[in-house]
Every structure is written in C-alpha cells, then in structure tokens.
Subunit: 404 residues, 2 copies
Amino acid sequence: MKSDLDRLMLDAALDALLVVGGSIHNPAMYYFTGGIHLLRGFLIKKRGEAPVLFHPSMEREEAARSGLAVRDLSDFAWNGVLHRAGGERLAQLLAALDVRGRVAVFGRIDVGPLLACLDALREHRPEIELATEFEAQEVLARARATKSEEEVERIRRTGRATVEVVGNVADFLTSHRARHGVLVNQHDEVLTIGEVKRRVNLWLAMKGLDNPEGCIFSVGRDAAIPHSTGIDSAPVETGKTIIFDIFPCEARGGYFFDFTRTWVLGEASDEILAAHRDVLEAYQVARSSIRQGVVCGEVQLAVCQSFEARGHPTVRTDAKTTSGYVHTLGHGVGLDVQEQPFTRPEDKTTAFAGGMVFTIEPGLYYPERGLGVRLEDTVWLRPDGILETLADFPMDLTLRLPGA
Amino acid sequence: MKSDLDRLMLDAALDALLVVGGSIHNPAMYYFTGGIHLLRGFLIKKRGEAPVLFHPSMEREEAARSGLAVRDLSDFAWNGVLHRAGGERLAQLLAALDVRGRVAVFGRIDVGPLLACLDALREHRPEIELATEFEAQEVLARARATKSEEEVERIRRTGRATVEVVGNVADFLTSHRARHGVLVNQHDEVLTIGEVKRRVNLWLAMKGLDNPEGCIFSVGRDAAIPHSTGIDSAPVETGKTIIFDIFPCEARGGYFFDFTRTWVLGEASDEILAAHRDVLEAYQVARSSIRQGVVCGEVQLAVCQSFEARGHPTVRTDAKTTSGYVHTLGHGVGLDVQEQPFTRPEDKTTAFAGGMVFTIEPGLYYPERGLGVRLEDTVWLRPDGILETLADFPMDLTLRLPGA
C-alpha cells in the first residue's frame, strides 16, 4: 500500500522516487495523482516526505485537483518537454526539493527523450545516483501489490460492470441460432467475432469503462493459442470452445479488472467437457492453496501437479510446451492489468499477503485439437484471510441455443 | 514517411533503430507492426534492411499478422521481460542481427526496467553506442510527420466518425431547454457535463473508436483554461462559451483525429461574438499562410499578429500570459494526438511539407471574464499543395434551443 512506501524505500536504500509523464494510462503517475487529466508532469517523493507534483502552467487546475502539493513548471522557465535540455531543468526540480542520493525513476513514457534527459541529469547533478537495479525498481510495484479498501472498491466496481457485460454477451450469442456450424441472426446473417467485439466495446462504454487493449474472443484453434485475440471477420462457430477474456479499466487508465470464461455454443464434446472439468478442478486446487504467507510459485506448482495427475503436459514438465497447461496461474490486477504479484515458479520469495488483488486463471490448450479452455476470476485476499471473488459469474461451459 | 527512414538514419548517422514494447498504445511499435495485439516485443531495424520483430512465443500468431519478418524470443530462452538480466538477452538479439555502431531506442514503456536493461547492454556490447541526442531521437518523429495516402485515409475515417459524434452532441444538447441558466431535460433534470461525456464515449464506441484521454467539454471560466477538461458534476450552462475538444483514435491505439468547436447555447453576448469572430479570422490567416516550404513557426507569428491587431495579448508579447492567445497554433496528428510538426516559434527550421497532417487551432482565453474560444480542424497538406480539411463541420457559434 501507499503507506508502505517509506519503509520499502528504506529497504531499497532509496532517497527519492521520480515519476515522469502525465497521469493518463501511466500507472506510476496515476497511483499518486488519481484520475486527473494531466498530460505532462513530474512527481518527486522524498523518503519520509509527501510527494510534490510539478505541472505545466496550462494544466494548473487539473494538477490542483490531485490534492497533492503542486509546483508550476513555468517557475523553472520550462514546460516539461524532455530531451537533453530537459536534463538541466530536471536537475533544477530535484535541487528545488534538495534531493540527493539514490533516486529511482518511474513512468510509462517515450523512452528516447528520457534517456537523453537522464544522461544530462547525471552530468549536472553528480551527487544523484540513478538506482536502476531490480530492487529499487520494485519499490513501487511492491507498494502497489497490496491494495487499500478504496482501491479494492474501485476494482470491484469495474468488475461488477465487467460481468454485466459478459452477461450481455451471453444473451446476445444465445439470441442467435445455429446454421451449418455457425451462429446466424433472424435474417440468416452470420455473426462475426468482430461484431461481438463491437458490442463489447459499446456495452463497456455505456458503463463508463475503457478497453485499451481490446478483449480476447477466440474460437476453436484460436482459443488454443493463449494470446490469440480472435479474428474479426471469422464467424462465431458452434460446438467449439470460445475463450472470452475481458480486461477493461476505468476511464483514462484507472483500475482494471480481468475475467475469462470458456463457452461452447450448443453441444460440447466429451473431450471439451473433460478439459473444462480439469480446468475447474485446477481452479479449485489453486483457491484452496492460497493463504497469506504461501509463496505464489508454490500454488503454480500445485496447479501443475493437478493437471499432470490428469495426464496433461505442463510448463513444469516441459518449459516450451504449447500443449496442455502452458502459462502461469495468474497475476496481480490494479492500475496495470498485469502487475505484482506474479505466480512465477522461479520466484521463491513473493508470498500472498492480505490486500493483494490477483487473478486465478488456469487453462488447457490443445492447438492440434482446436481446443482451449481458460477460467479466470479476479479475487481479493482480504486482510482477514478470506479470499473474496470480486465479481461473480457462473462457470458454466455450454450456452444453450434456441430450438436446440 | 516510412520510406524516408533509411535516409533519415543516414543523416543522423544511425546504424539501427531499436523499438521496445508491445504494439498497443505504443506509437513507435504500432508504426511498424500495425494494429496487432502484441503485448511485448522488440523490433530492430538496421539501416538499409527490413525490420525484424522479436516476439514472445505465446504471441507468435499475432506477430505473424504484422507481415514483418519475425523471430521467436523463446529461441533466446527469453520471454522479453526487461530489467538487468534483459540487458544480456537484448545484447543477444542485437548480435543475432549483427548490429553494431549507433542505435537509437524508441517505445512507450515503463522506463525503469529499461534503464537497467540498457545499462547492462552497454556492458555486454561496448561496440554499440546508444544514440540519445535529439537528432537521433527525431528520426522516427520526422518519418512519421509525413503520411502515406493509406495513413491519411485512416485519419480521415477517424475524423469522419468524430464529426458525426460532434453532430450527435449538438443534437443532444439542443434536445434540452434552458431553465435558470442551465440545460434541463423534459423531466426538468439538469444536464451535467459528465452525462455529455458519457454519451460521447458511447457514440465513439459505436463507431469503433477509442477515447484514451477523454475529451474536453468545458464551460465558461473552465473554457478559459486551455487544458481544463470540464467538471463532470457541473451543469451545462447557457449563454457561456463551451469548448468541445475531441481527440479519439482507432481501437487499441491507432491513428488519432483532433477537433474542436466552441458553442454557446442560446444567445451569445457581443463580447463572445467578437472573440469568436477574431478566432475565426486568425484561423483563416493561418490557412492562407500555410504552404509547402513555409516554416511552421512563421505561421504562429502571423496568427499572433492577427490577434494583436485586434487588441489581444499573445504569447509573443508576453510568454507567460494566461489571457488572450496563450498557446501555439497546432501540431501534427497521427499515432500520437500531438506529434511533429509543431508550430513552435523558436523552431526556425521545421517547414510544412506535402504529406503532413496537422491541426489549425487558434484560440482566445479570458479567465477573468469566464470566456474561452477555440476552433480546430485537422488538415492534410496534400503533395499537390492543396490544404484539405479531413472532416468538415460548421464553425457556427450558437446552438439554438427549443422555444428560444
């Protein structure tokens, strides 16, 4: 949590954090400023002190809305544009707050101008050391990994709107009927994946959500490739697995939610039913393994064992497998759709802790059989130890079509 | 244009470009990959050679859709995660293509892990020099500043959808009536700015557009602060200037459009009418000054002179003024909503050239009088010298209310 920052900075021997860029779709800045409309800026947080936001003069009103201490960049004869000359100006900002020692840099911005700027900063303020090692960089990620109740409430709100849209999509699909293995509407027009995604965007917008990365709606063989998003012009086929993975955020880059269901329109084959059952079983294994203090990677191990016991290859038995269980169990969700904690098996230290919000998303993929199944919920490990699903939706596999 | 890259790289003595990150809302990568759904990757373009895209194994199908030459990161025992260890891996990618000499780095990603990665790269491949100076960084921006016909067509399509939404908003506003200086609906409920913006997002989504930075819909005194976006809970007031600035992009971070109109609901005061007339005059001055070969900053000068001749302060007479004409005339529009060319008066070299797509957006702002006016079109300077407005919409100031 944000209140952990000073302690985490001390652990990493950091004297200050420097956050660069605007607040929009820039998680590190948004974390401090909230959802204001700041196109450019700098935030400096010294250890033990409140952060200070430096803003272009034109954006003074937006900056003030953040509630942070603010300084106008025009007092430094500067509008905040980076590049080499920016390095001198940036040195002045740091000097204005008397920053010395080890500084870690954050922000999602165009990297090129910043590189030039930081090279110049090193020249102008040799008493400042840019802390680029992993531990320094992880300070903000570690703070963000545990959420305040207010943050959880925002993720929950995004989640509730998300599952309502998922329900809209299920209703929309089942308002069609099957013909020659694809869905058609009452005029016998084939329903395409592109049309489904267009509706998803519309329904998300109606709920005030952004969908910056689009969603995954992939059918059959495409569903068997975890990151394939589905081809817009392709028809929605019946009898095959559909992976619908949706991960919108609050407008202008606020808190995300991440959610997946696998559906079959009409009848599912025994093979698909078995895969779905095995994924559901792995999902339950994961849920029952997650407790405060349990190392994240151990849950990944338990899930691999569950799949292996049912005869599936996993990344544990073959790191390069593209069949079976081919990814890790999940990831944190917050201002990034994927953030700390990660359930990487090689990470032997990161443990589940109260306040974490993360996904549980086991899956099975068989490209050669045109089959993919993934089930994903976003959950909150509450400080009291209870694992709360932030937005509920049935795990049912088959969607019944009219007349079937 | 992309075909200028090799020449621009030679001018800047660059041997290769390294683009880092996914393709979504990452203009430098999108420029090469197009709108594929790549979450992580690297692209290396050596001078005189076609670019090569390195992708995580899970995203192999999306990567292939780019039509680029591709390499799987798993061949380098790597999934593309940065930080220090990434530096060694990145060195291997560069070695695989036998890259030597001066390399400029591009991409909009979290800067911290990249800094560590590049420090390690410098250690592992001392024969590579990271070119961070302004000229090297500008290579991509300069190529992107002139658009191919295909790029223009995408901006035009975004523009046409945008002005349709602007028309929807005008119709929506005038479907209300005035009561006590604010708009109310048929149930006497006050229309808020937040509700207008919600509709904008909805109508944009229906047209398949993203609105990553939101829009500006600011009234009265807020309109007089150029970057104030409007307060969601505030009512839509009559008789005051409303600045409506809308800048959506294609889904997942494609080409943008940028457009502004200023409206008054009901009667406009003489003061507002005069300001609108003066902005329109400046707009015409700008249009008639823009020709191939004219330095961009000179057009800004002409616009300042037009405003000054009508008694308005400008940034030319007082660089820190917050009244009158307080910004520059415009900017390029493409994969960034603001990109090259900029009409900065201090830039004595950048000239308008055939293929450029940019905004013309003069404005007048008087915070103490609660008045702001801005008019903005996105135009294309065609190779044949004609200045084409990419999406037309009337410049009318007043929106008539029913019964008025």
